[in-house]
């Protein structure tokens, strides 16, 4: 006791106690992250906000304030409305496919089989492979001349060479392609989420359901899925936010085509704002993501909170 009191009284060791305070230490630890967000996310975001209400283009760099003019232009443009619709189809299509693949992938990976560890590691690959590489590979598979998929279908006698689908040339098929590639990229993430969720369901609860007479489907959709819903929704929010704002797959696979059939918000904003140089309209297009995502995330978070009561 005495020794401790002596130490505390010693001048010069005050610094030690300052670092003991959660307020000080916490601030120090958090500041790099805050700085990062402010400089690399906050500043460009504010800049984009300003661009969207200005008349700025690369060719006439005027910061003249034009109010909501740009937004009105954008909304009145049928191409933009098509793009917005595409974005929703792309996002929800790939999330639904990803969720289904993830759910069944997780169920398969839960049961023991020889080589399970290897498969578990390999299945993470789509997620780990750089987007550009993976998409180029997919582009080959969908290529109008060299398509491996078509080759296989022809070899199996399902289709003939003359009616082989032009995957990236047909608007509907092109949308299907970008959805499938995105789902393929996301499903390992969905598997991880589902695995984490399913393993957290107590075995007793599942066994109780089995003895109570529930078969495979009832056990899954009345017991396991509702119990892991909060975890899955959080994963889904991540998926939706990333997909909604993504442009890489569309850019690499179809370049928005054919005729804008696969153009999404991020891609359109990039095309108008950077490629064409109309920064003001590009910013306005991109900012449409914000309210949409905000509402979506709010609704989903509310739904899990209601679940927990």
């Amino acid at each position: 006791m005495v020794a401790i009191a002596d130490k505390a009284a010693k001048p010069g060791s005050r610094l030690q106690f300052i670092l003991d305070s959660p307020a000080v230490l916490g601030t120090i630890f958090v500041s790099p992250a805050v700085l990062y967000v402010l400089v690399l996310v906050g500043a460009p975001f504010l800049l984009a906000m300003y661009y969207s209400v200005s008349a700025y283009t690369i060719y006439s760099q005027s910061y003249r304030f034009v109010g909501l003019r740009n937004f009105i232009d954008v909304v009145q443009d049928p191409v933009f409305r098509q793009t917005l619709l595409n974005t929703f189809i792309f996002t929800f299509g790939s999330q639904i496919v990803g969720l289904i693949l993830g759910k069944f992938g997780a169920l398969l990976l839960l049961r023991p089989f020889p080589g399970r560890k290897v498969v578990r590691a390999l299945i993470m690959l789509p997620w780990a492979v750089p987007v550009a590489l993976a998409t180029v590979a997919w582009e080959w598979m969908f290529d109008s001349l060299y398509s491996v998929i078509n080759w296989t279908l022809i070899a199996l006698g399902i289709i003939t060479r003359s009616d082989a689908p032009n995957w990236l040339g047909n608007p509907h098929l092109a949308m299907l392609c970008v959805i499938m590639v995105n789902a393929w990229r996301f499903f390992p993430f969905a598997i991880v989420i589902f695995l984490a969720g399913i393993t957290s369901v107590p075995q007793d609860v599942i066994d109780a359901a089995t003895v109570d007479g529930a078969g495979f489907w009832r056990r899954n959709y009345q017991i396991i899925v509702p119990m892991i819903a909060p975890i899955v929704v959080v994963g889904l929010i991540f998926g939706i936010v990333f997909t909604f704002t993504d442009l890489s797959i569309v850019y690499l696979l179809t370049n928005g085509g054919p005729v804008g059939a696969t153009s999404v918000l991020g891609f359109e904003g990039f095309q108008v704002g950077i490629v064409s140089g109309d920064v003001a309209h590009g910013a306005a297009i991109s900012l449409f993501m914000l309210p949409v995502l905000f509402v979506l995330v709010l609704v989903m978070l509310r739904s899990i909170r209601r679940q927990e009561i």
Binding site: P202, D204, V205, I206, D207, A208, A209, T210, V211, D212, G213, A214, G215, R218, Q222, I223, P226, M227, A229, Q307
Partner: protein, 341 residues
């Protein structure tokens, strides 16, 4: 309601036999308790009966039908799990209704049965809560209601009281027993608590290392143990065992009394040195050693305090103790009970 019959059930996990040949006949309406130490295969055996686990070899008959290949949901068996396994996302009402929903029972009938089961167990006021909003004792009753609501042919209970505190356990024990007598469902109740087993079972099956050591009424198990394991597993303090003619001689602490308290001549006398004693209110437990005899553990005597006061049994002194010959059990060198000694 149905009789359960198991024939030579063996369950092998990797290289261990969790269940090593259990043959058990539980007649219709009986309350059978499976008693055994932790890890002896009780849970595994129950899981085999309800079909969650497939036996390696052996047959199970429920109501006279072999059910080896029948899935759990078609066996008509209800099981109550050690941690209850309530569905956390459902209200209590829906928890109880779940087994009926899976059987596609009509909605009106579900309502009636849920009401019947919840009233039976006194949880009618909890129906709109969720499992996490209940106490341990309430959860246990919900789990029981859920198990009973579809009037199962057989009720399996896996240590249902182990999560409750001592006081609640005593009253819950009572409740389950009375309840079973009222509905008369064939019940198999697993526990490692011998007090529960003795108090509740019509019959007890004592299990060790996946084998049945003895099946019998609580009285038979206690007074007539079939082997050394049963003798020492049942009873607190356990039966005293001393080396005797290459085997062991056993006697219960409450039968080991000062010579003068036994008013009988067919007795075996021992010289007992008391080391210490504990006063427990209704009884006094005395620990010590026997002269010239090797014992398995410390010898204990359970004395009625009304007859034996502190003064007459002094630590460090030798006393003349005795056991009625009728209360002696002799076990041969393999631990099996022998008739003569």
């Amino acid at each position: 309601m149905s009789a359960v019959l198991t024939k030579d059930i063996v369950k092998t996990f990797a290289d261990v036999n969790a269940v090593d040949g259990i043959s058990l006949a539980v007649p219709d309406g009986e309350f059978m308790v499976l008693l055994g130490p932790s890890g002896c295969g009780k849970t595994t055996f129950l899981r085999i009966i309800c079909g969650l686990e497939r036996q390696t070899t052996g047959d199970i008959l429920i109501g006279g039908t072999v059910v080896n290949d029948i899935p759990p949901r078609a066996r008509g068996v209800a099981m109550m799990f050690q941690s209850y396994g309530l569905y956390p996302h459902y209200k209590i009402r829906d928890n109880i209704a779940f087994p009926l929903r899976t059987q596609r029972v009509a909605r009106a009938e579900i309502e009636n049965k849920v009401e019947w089961a919840s009233n039976l167990l006194g949880i009618g006021h909890l129906l709109d809560r969720r499992p996490r909003q209940l106490s341990g004792g309430e959860r246990q009753r919900v789990a029981l209601a859920r198990a009973l609501v579809r009037e199962p042919t057989v009720l399996l209970l896996d240590e249902p009281l182990s999560n409750l505190d001592a006081k609640l356990r005593a009253s819950a024990r009572n409740e389950i027993k009375q309840f079973q007598q009222r509905v008369g469902t064939t019940t198999i109740y697993v526990t490692h608590d011998q007090v529960e087993a003795m108090g509740m079972g019509d019959r007890i099956a004592v299990i060790d290392h996946g084998r049945v050591r003895q099946v019998g009424t609580p009285t038979a198990i206690y007074d007539d143990p079939a082997d050394r394991f049963v003798a020492t597993f049942v009873g607190t303090p356990p039966m005293n065992l001393v080396a005797w003619n290459g085997g062991h001689l056993g006697f219960r602490p409450e039968n080991f009394l000062p010579r003068e308290l036994i008013d009988d001549s067919a007795v075996t006398e021992f010289s007992f040195r008391v080391d210490r004693s504990e006063y427990l209110g209704s009884e006094r437990i005395v620990y010590g050693v026997l002269e010239g005899l090797e014992s398995v553990q410390e010898i204990t005597a359970k004395l009625p305090p009304a007859h034996v006061d502190q003064e007459s049994i002094r630590p460090g002194e030798w006393h003349a103790f005795a056991v009625r010959n009728s209360a002696l059990c002799y076990f041969d060198k393999d631990g099996k009970r022998a008739i003569r000694h």
